[in-house]
Symmetry: D2
């Protein structure tokens, strides 16, 4: 999950960036509540970053692209951090190897928080002095969006860390699960034709949402809600993980190699799942989560349906108000769907689409290191839409394109069925 900076919303009347900056930065720190310093060190697989690293890297982003860029007298907090906390910006310089982030015990959590606060202070000065400079404002907006992405990753990463521990520790509390079975799925039809997709209005969007452009869609239908745990269990009971004819070849190879037999966090008895509150009973009506694209695709084939394309999804979502089980609900876990027109469209689980993550016609990456945010990842990944229970409400929109490799499943990723109308 990565990003760029056109079309920034700087409200000319006040110093909006400073307030937004404070709010986003404070929420990040609020996320470490319930974690010990030891928790913040661990990298449980190469895709995961330590909590401590997220706290530092998001800070480096502001130091690198705001303070070092726009504050001539600024002195870096620590000479070694540019190398340690650069993620993948090749044009900034060399970086510490991603897969080894969990080997770095220093700076400690306290030292990282010192780093955050020092950069925050310098940022407040910069914003007080020149927060209305549009170049600064657009980079701050980008940095805040960047940090929100890492807020979600921090959640999914620490969940993965704790899940690897045989003691299955809890981090947050969750209300007791509801044992209700899911209601039968309903379908909503859409007419298709030449439609417009991609970001076109005001407000922030990443470069990968641009430009707004026309696509041709055949008529299609979407399920009114995401696939539920109980439905996914029926797929498993019908031999889902043992029938190669249901799988893409790469997916079947992965199933064999990694001996996949259930969603990532389900217990071996298929009765419980690991959550931010530790192991607890599966909720039959809640959306199934932590699926790879391969599993989502196999389920859809088994169900006689398919995944939607990202254009189909976006066309349907463009009319739906943004509300649902998002990060502000403080659940950090999918919930049974409510009664919305397209329930669970926003929040709960990211929905895998059948679309590869590729540039839109006319796409241009921004100049410079910032241009590495999104464009260079447009290979081998699949698009997900709609946000999850760990996505902030003001971070998601109908045109938002999230992307992961088809075998990745540590995100809150599920699916909604589609079919030709």
């Amino acid at each position: 999950m990565n990003s760029s900076l056109p079309e920034v919303d700087v409200d000319s009347g006040g110093n909006l960036p400073a307030g937004r900056y404070r709010q986003v930065r404070a929420r990040t720190e609020s996320l470490i509540r319930g974690l010990a310093p030891e928790d913040t060190v661990v990298q449980s697989m190469p895709d995961v970053s330590p909590t401590k690293w997220h706290l530092a890297h998001t800070t480096w982003f502001f130091e690198q692209f705001l303070l070092a860029a726009f504050q001539p007298a600024y002195e870096r907090f620590h000479a070694g951090y540019e190398f340690l906390f650069n993620s993948y910006y090749q044009q900034v310089g060399p970086m510490f190897e991603r897969a080894r982030r969990g080997l770095i015990s220093r700076p400690t959590l306290a030292e990282v928080l010192d780093y955050r606060h020092a950069v925050d202070a310098a940022m407040q000065e910069l914003l007080a002095a020149s927060g209305n400079d549009p170049r600064i404002a657009e980079h701050v907006t980008l940095g805040c969006n960047h940090e929100q992405q890492h807020q979600e990753l921090l959640v999914t990463d620490i969940k993965h860390v704790l899940a690897r521990n045989p003691l299955t520790p809890a981090w947050r509390e969750l209300p007791a699960p509801e044992p209700e079975e899911p209601a039968p799925v309903a379908w909503r039809e859409f007419a298709g034709g030449v439609v417009e997709v991609g970001h076109g209005g005001e407000g922030f969007a990443y470069d990968n949402e641009l430009p707004r452009h026309r696509v041709f869609l055949e008529p299609y239908a979407l399920a009114q809600r995401p696939v539920a745990n109980a439905e996914y269990r029926a797929f498993m009971e019908d031999g889902g993980y043992r029938r190669p004819e249901l799988w893409l070849a790469d997916g079947w190879a992965r199933v064999q190699e990694e001996r996949w037999a259930r969603p990532l966090y389900w217990s071996e008895d298929d009765e419980r799942e690991f959550t931010v509150a530790g192991l607890r009973g599966l909720e039959p009506a809640a959306p199934v989560a932590h699926l790879s694209h391969y599993e989502a695709d196999a389920y859809a084939r088994w169900a006689g349906a398919r995944l939607p394309t990202e254009a189909e999804w976006e066309q349907a979502a463009s009319a739906e108000p943004i509300a649902g089980n998002l990060a502000e609900a403080e659940r950090l876990h999918p919930q049974p769907p409510g009664g919305a027109s397209l329930a669970g469209l926003w929040g709960d689980v990211w929905e895998w689409t059948s679309s590869a993550y590729l540039p839109y016609p006319g796409y241009r990456a921004p100049e410079g290191a910032i241009g590495e945010y999104n464009g260079k990842f447009m290979s081998g990944q699949m698009v997900l839409r709609g946000g999850s229970c760990a996505t902030p409400r003001d971070h998601i929109r109908a045109t938002y394109r999230n992307f992961f490799y088809p075998g990745q499943r540590w995100q809150f990723s599920g699916l909604r069925l589609a079919r030709d109308a």
Copy 2:
């Protein structure tokens, strides 16, 4: 590269399948001219299959899907061959591990040829008796197309085998290279709009070319010829393999891991390349070949252009007569472009597109094991178009979709530039 069976061309007037069968089978055997039995055993990497295996697997295809299916009294030539020579048809049964095909010295080449001839005899009987049965005819057509695909793979595979040998042995002869520099590239413009792509007429097509459907294209332009060796060398001399900003992230990782610094078969002095005739001087004006998608994409970015989408390519190609340096030219090596409207469109090198290999809207895989031909590979691969110097003339068409992983480069794969008009 894989396949299916709708819309077969059975000419009702005669027994066309039998003639076509004989012709395709004979051409396959003609390809082993110049090879020793020892050459036919080796598998130089997991993607490569031994020559002997291609000869046997294509035979197994007819034995499995024609003789065993339609000839009730047929007895298999050898009880062990169903397991040894099944490639990936999970619904047929278990198969020998792909990466170990080079460990199998028996059956010998002579025994494999005996197998071919026994199956040929039984097929002639079947076709004489019931060649006009449409189900049989369509499977024979599919088997012939399947075998033509393996004819091309046999060539690219044995080229790879011989290239790994420090003695750089030659297999065929080639005329002396021409030292001409390429002419400046010209561009042809296309209007775009809602266009139709995919196979819609008569004649054979694979299932992945179906159904014909509408897409929306913005105006675009294509280079009049593929990128030439001399141009690619200029990219290299400009630091192409050392500049991360030119590469997709996955591509840059691969460049580092495998220390790529030039096309697959170029010598370290960048003056010669390995060909079916052994090492020989690079031809500056000939299309550059044996590129991965990553390299093609990086070159295009360096050149200020991009790769075409498969729909753009198909729209342009649909008006172009099929002619060029195809397998019948017996070169098995790309040639400098002639004066066609879109030179080198057919033959020479497969042209990487920017399109992921995904199902067309409304795509349905056929029922049964044959349905595994194409559909299950629609993940993680990119589309190539236009055929190469190893593709038979009657095997290629404007709607033909070839596909490989973006890191693969042992095919005759190159590129043609595109840009927004």
Copy 3:
């Protein structure tokens, strides 16, 4: 590095085990001075264990082999710890995968210290009640020796953890290095003949030191001191790491694979080394440390000498009083040799021998899980002798056999030359 339990020193007059227990346990906790909780989590390679794990595993040893075995009413501190903190005792039950110890953030350091203190309290009770029971006393003695081994590993492991950090953090202080060059090496001759080796007297010894037995030695000579940094640098400058004729074949393969060009902790300019006090200048006269057996062997060959056998080493050491730069000196770093008869024999660096770690004639492993301490590791490893700067004074003796794989070099391992007399 691993152990057993014959011949325990239980002084019948008092409760010696209790005092020894307290002293050893206290020293272990004193080692974490200077470390942050974050430091104690990290596992920088599979051979390394986190500090936190050492603290817990040594405690588990007493819980498992004393409290659970001899205290009928004892209740385990935590149900999950038996699985988490078993190292390799197959007969005790399943264990957490060694290479994943660094993924476990819980129990936290504070919780592990609680575990230690709870077990300490229960042990004091057990020892007060039945410390003179010989079975208990001998297991306590074994547990204390076991914990001393882990004291040394804790030091070498955390050194490795900190060394991987590009910030090169310091943990302890060290006096400034002395720039003196080493004095020329002198040799001491030994007569050989049929000699006795192995533990034979009173006092504790591991099972692998038993039984005392006869071996035949040809006359030989040992260098009066270990090889010094300055000498090892001369080997490097003479192309030591580029000349295959100096190396064992396995060693040369490792040099190529891992691109070894210097001892483990030397900086790339060969002027500094990483120590417990961070990076500091190399001391020319100090013993070279952190060599693999392959490097020690190659150096000896280059120097026209060889490594001693373990019997040669033991025969020479049996007459030498135990004194030197051991753990009590609180240096945790090798020092230039003093004027002892065989300087540096005790402490400073473990000395690689040319002997494979194999059972002595007549060796018998103890019954039960304790029998897994040493015997099962007698394959593929080489013997080191003499202790290091991280070995407690009362843990080392002439018959002590340490052992590591020939490619391991994160211990304080160096060499002393030998030759035929």
Copy 4:
């Protein structure tokens, strides 16, 4: 398995080397009877070399160390063969990567035989002219011994190649197995004391058998015959492969990783084994073969015994005449023991000892590339003694030290029990 050149047996009266040369070279070629050219290409694992490679490498040895060294006007048969067919002589120059030998189809078998015959002709000239030159004679003797080692490897390698083929092809014929159960094992006692081991007399020996030297042995006993298939099956039925307490730690790890559950070539029903004659019924009384050192060691522990040291074995064997199921018997498969004093001591199976392969006291490797024959492999391997059913009669002797890594099991390797007397 590798070699050196002191103490050569040049009979001064005639040109013995020439006759010996012819005889050894002819036997090598006789071994390929029954193989197709395709068989001679395959390398079924990195330890295995293709038949074709053995034929060429043994020829290269004479070309390199005799013709190029002693025949000033000699021109190499082919410029590329020095690189292709050097095995591991670093001082000769770079070499083709061992693990890729199976990727080389050219030179073909016929071309390799041409190479052999051309070198043979040049060698006959050299030997006719100067066969009595002691330096030449000693190198020819070494080359002949070297070739005999490769004769055995050619057999074990092609057996491995054919065994990987699901068609289980046969290469030679074998008489029908005898269903007799083994007789109870008897023991022979030996007094021990200071004994001499190593080569000391006349006749050829490898450098690793030198110098003859004294060792001290405690009294011991050896089983009168090797362990039989029926006995090994009893170990398996008693849970041998499922009980970690029977195994060295490295062995147990290997059992898990490779899922070992029986000797290398036994069928899954434990009733048949793969032989040079294809799959056939197990012979209960025949020595068990194709065990790793780990399995031999675990069996011995289960049986309440141990493996002999190499000195114990040699001391016992020094009095036994060399006779048994060796290569000249043309069985290439172990046979039930006859009535010799120490039955099966020579031939049948190599017997794993408990001794690591290390230099004898006073060992010196020869100067130059020939010095790489043995010395550099003295790390990580274990000694085997006594020859196998694939060892030529005039190649084995009481002092002969064969050596392999403890996990290797594609040789004819078994065990004889030992115990303290």
